[in-house]
């Protein structure tokens, strides 16, 4: 059985070569991702320094501080309403962004998937163009559209539809518009991939079996493209939750989201451990969302083919 022994050796060699070849990437990932993450984790259990930074003294204050604040006079713990409001706004705006991008993205993806192959490539390219533009520039572009003297208000006033400008900028609506615009491609692409695989002949089968348009959509199309919906939703929800630039530019600093709140702790707040614990919390939420995705995708895969 020298053959199989030789094969075994070859296999061992292939495995070893594989590790060698991926070593640079593994090294980079360890140093650039796991390393800083570990630093953040450690910082979240330290004491804040007076002018920023940390003092190397173990403390769980930063984690407690996510939900509670110590009243400086009575020294009692109180629920940190301001923090909760920021968390709630972040989750609410992210969910709404996901919903809006789905509502806009699904018809878009359907439209693209039902074009002839050549036109399809063009439409996909157009959808991804914003990706090649700097996020800050895109956000300021939205700012230009919705501000009081901006394009939208000017046109509406010139048309005589409104007498005074609508205040959109620096509201939650502005943040929503901005995030929906920025993350739309992340919803469209996985939806397109799912719809592209969808067998359009099933639509006829549905109509043939007495389903109306709505029933065909709800009972046939949506369940089958569900993996794409879940993927798109995760891809939009996760970065929305940690969004920093968009709420900063369009929300005007008052409408804070978790991302801005974290930045605040590392800046003016001079509470690095709290910033670190908030970052870890954000990461945990994201991991939870990914877990949902993996489970949904696993179920989706079972009836694939």
């Amino acid at each position: 059985m020298s053959m199989s022994a030789g094969e075994e050796a070859a296999k061992r060699r292939r495995v070893r070569d594989g590790w060698l070849l991926s070593a640079p990437a593994l090294l980079l990932l360890t140093l650039a991702a796991a390393g800083p993450l570990l630093v953040v984790l450690v910082y979240s259990f330290l004491t804040p320094g007076q002018y920023g930074g940390v003092v190397w003294e173990f403390s769980t204050d930063a984690w407690v501080g996510i939900l509670f604040t110590r009243d400086i006079f009575t020294e009692t713990m109180q629920l940190a309403d301001a923090h909760l409001a920021i968390f709630w706004r972040s989750v609410r705006l992210s969910l709404l962004t996901t919903l809006i991008t789905f509502a806009v993205g699904f018809p878009t993806a359907w439209f693209i998937a039902t074009r002839p192959p050549k036109a399809r490539a063009l439409w996909l390219f157009l959808i991804t163009i914003p990706f090649w533009t700097n996020l800050l520039i895109r956000t300021f572009a939205i700012n230009e559209v919705i501000r009081n003297e901006g394009i939208l208000n000017s046109v509406l006033m010139a048309a005589g539809i409104i007498a005074t400008p609508i205040q959109i900028l620096y509201t939650d609506t502005a943040v929503l518009i901005g995030m929906a615009y920025v993350y739309l491609p992340l919803m469209v692409l996985p939806l397109f991939a799912a719809i592209d695989r969808f067998d359009m002949r099933l639509l006829e089968a549905g109509y043939d079996l007495y389903a109306n348009r709505w029933q065909v959509l709800r009972r046939i199309v949506l369940p089958i493209v569900k993996p794409g919906i879940v993927a798109g939703s995760i891809l939009v929800f996760v970065p929305s939750l940690g969004a920093y630039v968009t709420p900063r530019v369009l929300g005007g600093g008052k409408q804070m989201m978790i991302g801005n709140f974290i930045e605040l702790q590392f800046g003016q707040g001079r509470n690095w451990p709290l910033g670190a614990s908030l970052s870890m919390l954000l990461l945990l939420i994201v991991l939870a969302a990914l877990l949902v995705y993996v489970r949904a995708a696993g179920k989706g895969g079972a009836h694939g083919q």
Partner: protein, 356 residues
């Protein structure tokens, strides 16, 4: 009226494309399909048979003309309002649903009560012998089983008409034969009108009560299998269904004088019409000794063995080819061999005069 019409197409025209490039997939088709019959639309691919089926199902609307169901004009009804169901060529089973959920889909969409949905679904699964597979996903089934699910799903809502679009084309030969019998059984048991589309003439002949032969968007002939086989209306039908010898000649006083010499007796009612083509099925060609009087002289060019049958290819005096199908035992005993000179006779009434 002893017979009633289930489906009728009246002057149905379906054109695809616009203006000069428009192609008529259906060119003024009128047909009446009787209640409870197994009607087959037979023709080569691109002849318009599937288009006609899709007009009846409601997936396409005719460019002009109308479709009637039970005498009611349904031309503008969408497919979900037509009491007609389809078995698709690709089956188009719902991959996210189980076998039972697939079968009950139509009933649920019709808003039938839950108890009825369950009962009917069970009955349909029993009808196609898939009770044991009720909880499986359709992707776990074999081709033949998927075919049965598609059938059960389409039959469950008890449609007035069942449309079958080449449903057996994806199956291998043995399974196809089984399903042919199965389909015929289902049709007899349910009493539902079946409209079956196929390009397989043998399938059409074995299953159908009546066949409509189509070519280039037109129905060329409608009739029972025997009718179509023995009395083809024209050259296309004669050549598409079964094998046929075509012999040119001239018609005179109830006989066709063949170009190759000799003559064949045909139905006396035919008027003298100058040049005609006579169609004779290979099994109607008799081989006799060359010495027999009145026999058409021929030379054997090839003998092809098919098991039970042997095909004997022969050349006539003018070079035209005639094929005779003989039982292999007979051809063996007769001592036929390549190059041998023989005489031909045709079974009485076998010759069919075709319009050009």
């Amino acid at each position: 009226m002893t017979e009633t019409i289930a489906v009728e197409a009246r002057n149905a025209i379906k054109a695809f494309g616009q203006g000069d490039v428009a192609v008529r997939a259906l060119d003024d088709v009128s047909v009446q399909i009787r209640k409870g019959e197994f009607f087959t639309l037979l023709g080569p691919s691109g002849c318009g048979k599937t288009t006609l089926l899709r007009l009846i199902a409601g997936f396409e609307t005719p460019t002009s003309g109308s479709i009637l169901l039970d005498g009611k004009d349904i031309t503008s009804d969408p497919p979900n309002r037509r009491p007609v169901n389809t078995v698709f060529q690709s089956y188009a089973l719902f991959p996210h649903l189980t076998v039972a959920q697939n079968v009950s889909f139509g009933l649920q969409m019709q808003g039938r009560p839950k108890a009825e949905v369950t009962a009917t679904t069970d009955r349909m699964l029993a009808l196609v012998r898939l009770e044991a597979m009720a909880g499986r996903k359709t992707s776990q089934l074999s081709g033949g089983q998927q075919q049965r699910v598609a059938l059960a799903r389409a039959l469950a809502p008890q449609p007035k008409v069942l449309l079958l679009d080449e449903p057996l084309s994806a199956l291998d030969l043995k399974l196809r034969k089984e399903m042919q019998t199965e389909l015929k059984r289902l049709q007899t048991e349910t009493g539902i009108t079946f409209i079956f589309v196929t390009h397989d003439q043998e399938e059409a002949l074995t299953m159908s009560d009546r066949i409509g032969v189509m070519s280039a968007g037109k129905i060329l002939q409608i009739g029972g299998p025997r009718d179509i086989y023995t009395r083809p209306a024209n050259r296309f039908v004669a050549s598409f269904i079964g094998e046929t010898n075509f012999l040119p000649g001239t018609l005179r006083d109830g006989r066709v004088i063949l170009a190759s010499g000799g003559s064949i007796e045909v139905a006396a009612t035919l008027r003298n019409a100058g040049n005609v083509t006579v169609a004779v099925r290979p099994e109607q060609v008799r081989i006799v000794p060359a010495t027999e009087p009145d026999a058409l002289p021929a030379t054997i060019t090839d003998l092809v063995y098919f098991g039970t049958d042997t095909h004997c290819h022969m050349a006539l005096a003018d070079g035209s080819e005639v094929v005779a199908r003989l039982q292999s035992s007979v051809s063996g005993e007769a001592g036929l061999e390549r190059g041998g000179r023989v005489g031909l006779r045709f079974a009485p009434g076998a010759a069919q005069v075709l319009g050009e």
